[in-house]
Symmetry: C2
Subunit: 202 residues, 2 copies
DNA sequence: GTCTATATCGGGATAGAC
DNA sequence: GTCTATCCCGATATAGAC
């Protein structure tokens, strides 16, 4: 409806994003993207040269949008418990807006593992510092010392898994779409509680 | 090397399994499968009629192999803590043998959500019973009462996520392949500890 | 059952008019 | 910049000989 206001390039990128994220690179068709953008197939090539390059543009933007949000939370000067809460809440809120994003990114990285190399550093994410940070902040005060690498993966798994594995999980739990959305929102509180229990000294 | 001993059909299924799991349905090529099986392309059609049907055969077998293992553990008559330990250990051991399986299954289900409907029940998995089971066993003795649906997802996420998201996680943690394998094995102990802390009354 | 040859079609990419 | 027409390859699938 507001298509007339967007540049053709933006139109293409939006359409490509939708199609690529839903179907993955291999199953997506240039024709389908053109249709979704309301333009001609050859315009895709005019703007992006090839399917690979169009995909690359979509993929890069998806990451560039996402990484800074994570970065902000992680670098915030907050005590551990508040940092965990903010991380979980912000992450889940963001994924609720982009529910298909993690499965997309992960699948494409699995298809082409090298694709990721270097992108994190380019975006200014410093894994060493995050891990060191966790190491320092656990083991203090009321918290158990934890292995920072495992802790990081635990947190990510708890948050991201129900988005990636939605079809299976929704089937297993026998929830409607509406109920599943509620379930995902509940997880903010549930994960925070679960994690805090796990790392709080008895 | 022992190819001469296997039936052609088994040869095809093994090859198709490898290719489909590594590349997904859309990116896999019949020619590639034929090459991997050491046979002619048209033999694939002779045995399985079409690419979809070959895929279906592979996918079904992958699930049929996997589900019974989970079923066994879940139905075992054990106290909660032992059940959790066995579940985590067996699940991770199985995934270490089939590291690409979860990403494959999850991606194909995301592409085609309906595909899963009914398969669980056919395989004899009763989600209601599992959930009820968790509900009964937590809240007793030394354990906190937990929401069984969230608890189930927590457990699955902790176990499966580092397999699905391996490229990202390995990059973030800056581990070599060897170190990552070690990391995955360590997770058995780490997850069990983490989860037990999380649900044990203080 | 297994192979070679071929039909058929879909899809990425280009040429060229407007 | 945008469209129509077309090229051309790759991939699924079939026909038919052995």
């Amino acid at each position: 409806m507001t298509n007339e206001l967007k540049s053709t390039e933006a139109l293409i990128l939006d359409a490509a994003r939708t199609i690529f994220i839903r179907k993955g690179f291999a199953a997506s068709r240039m024709q389908e993207i053109a249709d979704a953008a309301g333009i001609n197939k050859s315009l895709l090539h005019y703007y992006f040269r090839s399917k690979e390059q169009l995909f690359e543009a979509v993929f890069s933007r998806a990451l560039e949008n996402f990484i800074p949000r994570v970065k902000n939370i992680i670098e915030a000067e907050l005590p551990l418990d508040q940092k965990i809460s903010r991380f979980v809440e912000t992450y889940i809120d963001t994924l609720l807006q982009n529910p298909y994003l993690p499965a997309f990114v992960i699948h494409e990285l699995n298809m082409n593992p090298g694709k990721f190399a270097g992108r994190l550093k380019n975006a200014g994410l410093k894994p060493e510092i995050i891990l060191q940070n966790i190491e320092e902040e656990t083991g203090r005060e009321a918290f158990l010392k934890v292995r920072p690498d495992h802790f990081m993966v635990n947190l990510l798994g708890l948050v991201i898994f129900p988005f990636i594995a939605r079809p299976v999980v929704q089937e297993v739990l026998q929830k409607t779409d509406e109920q599943y959305k509620t379930f995902l929102m509940e997880r903010k509180e549930q994960i925070i509680q679960f994690v805090m229990n796990a790392i709080t000294k008895t």
